[in-house]
């Protein structure tokens, strides 16, 4: 019985709501028809004429949310979804300018890119979306927005504050990001933010889905799928039916719990055991083959999880710091290090280590993978060379001498200690 009353109340209030909505809509239709596109008249009409409701208020590590709502009849409806959590996105612009042919070499960077961003477009546009997907890696987000007629729906990333750095050859050598250029105006910021959306989310499938069903009376329904591994926290959902008509954003919370952890810098949440076991396996294998695990670990990490390559490179590197330091300590105890040689070459390597991390953010993930592919081929060659008979024979002799010297060194260290 109680259920019946609940549903009655819900149904009544929904009906009342819709009546008010359509009533307000009818009132404001008039000025539009009369052809007075005053800003004051359009604004309230816009915010009031589109409604949106979600069937849930929270999710556990992603899931599907049903979106329903109403919009002025006869208009295509777009649904914009973004995470409140913000991450970093950067893009190095080295494409030659279409008019002047000059390469700008400007690094665009923002710390305010939503960790998740998607625009749901009407179902009928699936064909156009497939065309965008067919373009492959060279697709353009701004062109896709135009093709899908979704420019009005694009709002959240456009507000991200973008910094511009003029990179110079000298600056790269010194290892600086370059000169900070003056802030861009709103229009330019919006345009550049679209490029950063592509840089961050990479594929059209991440930022578009064609599943909004619009009925002739303006009622619409859509399914929003938030992937597992998305950022926790609040997500905002907003329906847009043209430039002057949009709903207030509705909030839904995505919760995650252990073993899922959210890497705030990477903007990805993942199962704790995934990277843990992978690192363990690769590091063991790395020790066995006599090469650090980073070679295999880094490309696997960027391939398996949606992690930015900058974060992977910057976080894997320090994991070997301590094993290297303890190795040096052990060798130095028995005086098995030539400090003169190590420091001389080390100074040259410090210089390289100063420049390298700067270059990481100038390349895209695809370039990262491409270069890594060639590095691995060279490494595979080195590994194979170490199994050839000529190398083995030489190595056997070398290892024998190494053991002999090490024994000598250990003995003299012990003697000194006992003295």
């Amino acid at each position: 019985m109680r259920r019946f009353w609940y549903s009655l109340v819900v149904a009544l209030s929904a009906t009342a709501f819709m009546m008010i909505q359509s009533g307000i809509f009818a009132q404001h239709q008039l000025p539009g028809v009369q052809g007075s596109p005053g800003l004051e008249a359009q604004k309230p009409e816009g915010s009031a004429s589109v409604t949106l409701t979600l069937d849930k208020t929270s999710l556990n590590n992603g899931g599907t949310v049903a979106i329903t709502g109403t919009a002025p009849p006869g208009r295509p409806v777009y649904v914009e979804v973004w995470a409140e959590d913000q991450v970093r996105a950067s893009r190095f612009d080295s494409e030659p300018d279409k008019e002047t042919g000059k390469r700008p070499y400007v690094l665009y960077m923002t710390h305010q890119m939503p960790a998740m961003y998607r625009i749901l477009v009407p179902k009928e546009l699936q064909g156009k979306l497939d065309e965008v997907k067919k373009q492959g890696k060279g697709w353009s987000y701004s062109q896709a927005l135009k093709d899908l007629d979704a420019e009005a729906a694009y709002s959240a990333p456009a507000k991200a504050k973008i910094e511009r750095y003029q990179a110079t050859l000298m600056g790269s050598v010194v290892g600086s990001r370059g000169e900070l250029l003056p802030a861009m105006d709103e229009k330019e910021n919006r345009k550049r933010s679209m490029q950063l959306v592509k840089a961050r989310f990479r594929t059209p499938g991440k930022v578009f889905a064609a599943n909004v069903e619009v009925k002739p009376d303006g009622a619409f329904a859509a399914k929003l799928n938030i992937d597992s591994g998305s950022a926790p926290g609040n997500y905002r959902v907003r329906a847009v039916a043209g430039k002057d008509a949009s709903s207030e954003p509705v909030t839904i919370e995505n919760k995650i719990a252990f073993p899922y952890l959210y890497l705030s810098n990477a903007g990805t949440s993942l199962n704790f055991f995934g990277p843990f076991l992978l690192t363990l396996a690769i590091a063991i294998f790395g020790v066995l083959m006599g090469a650090g695990g980073g070679f295999i670990l880094n490309p696997l990490l960027v391939s398996i999880w949606p992690l930015p390559h900058t974060i992977v490179a910057g976080t894997v590197m320090p994991t070997v710091l301590f094993s290297q330091a303890s190795g040096i300590y052990n060798y130095s105890k028995i005086k098995f290090i030539s400090w003169k040689l190590g420091v001389t070459i080390g100074l040259a390597m410090v210089l390289g280590g100063f420049i390298g991390p700067k270059l990481t953010e100038l390349i895209t993930l695809d370039q990262f993978k491409f270069v890594f592919g060639w590095i691995l081929i060279i490494l595979a060659g080195l590994m194979f060379w170490q199994t050839t008979s000529g190398y083995l024979a030489r190595n056997k002799k070398e290892q024998a001498i190494l053991r002999e010297f090490k024994k000598k060194a250990e003995e003299s260290a012990r003697r000194k200690a006992s003295k």
Binding site: T279, L280, A313, P318, G352, G356, G373, L376
Partner: protein, 129 residues
């Protein structure tokens, strides 16, 4: 440059060592791996030093690079603490487990498997399949 190591003197081509070390450092800090497997051949084959001189000294040289690379990545905000805390214990644990396994497997077999595995992974990265 002449270095002395346990009573034996070696002539080292510093220019080659430094240029090679610099290039290895740029690439390894850019892509976030240790440069060991490239440094050792550079010093043994390139500089003609015997293995017993190279093992400790190459580690020292690489440590400079790792330290600097880490600091710079941190400066550019490429470091994720939680991610580090997931991987670091695994790397330490591997350091204890690996020597136990190493006694039982032939390094020759491991290296051949590694070479094959690296080629497969490289093919994937280069988009060959």
């Amino acid at each position: 440059m002449v270095i002395e190591f346990w009573g034996v003197q070696f002539k080292v081509n510093v220019l080659l060592g430094c240029i090679g070390g610099f290039l290895i450092a740029v690439v390894s800090s850019m892509f976030g791996f240790g440069g060991g497997p490239f440094m050792v051949p550079l010093m043994t084959v390139g500089l003609g030093l015997p293995m017993y001189v190279v093992v400790g000294s190459s580690l020292l040289a690489i440590f400079f690079n790792t330290l600097m690379g880490t600091a710079r990545h941190y400066q550019f905000g490429n470091f994720d603490l939680l991610f580090f805390l997931i991987m670091f214990p695994a790397a330490i644990l591997a350091g204890f487990i690996a020597p136990q396994i190493a006694k039982r497997v032939s390094p020759l077999v491991v290296k051949r498997i590694a070479a094959a595995g690296l080629l497969i992974l490289a093919g994937n990265l280069l988009g060959l399949y």
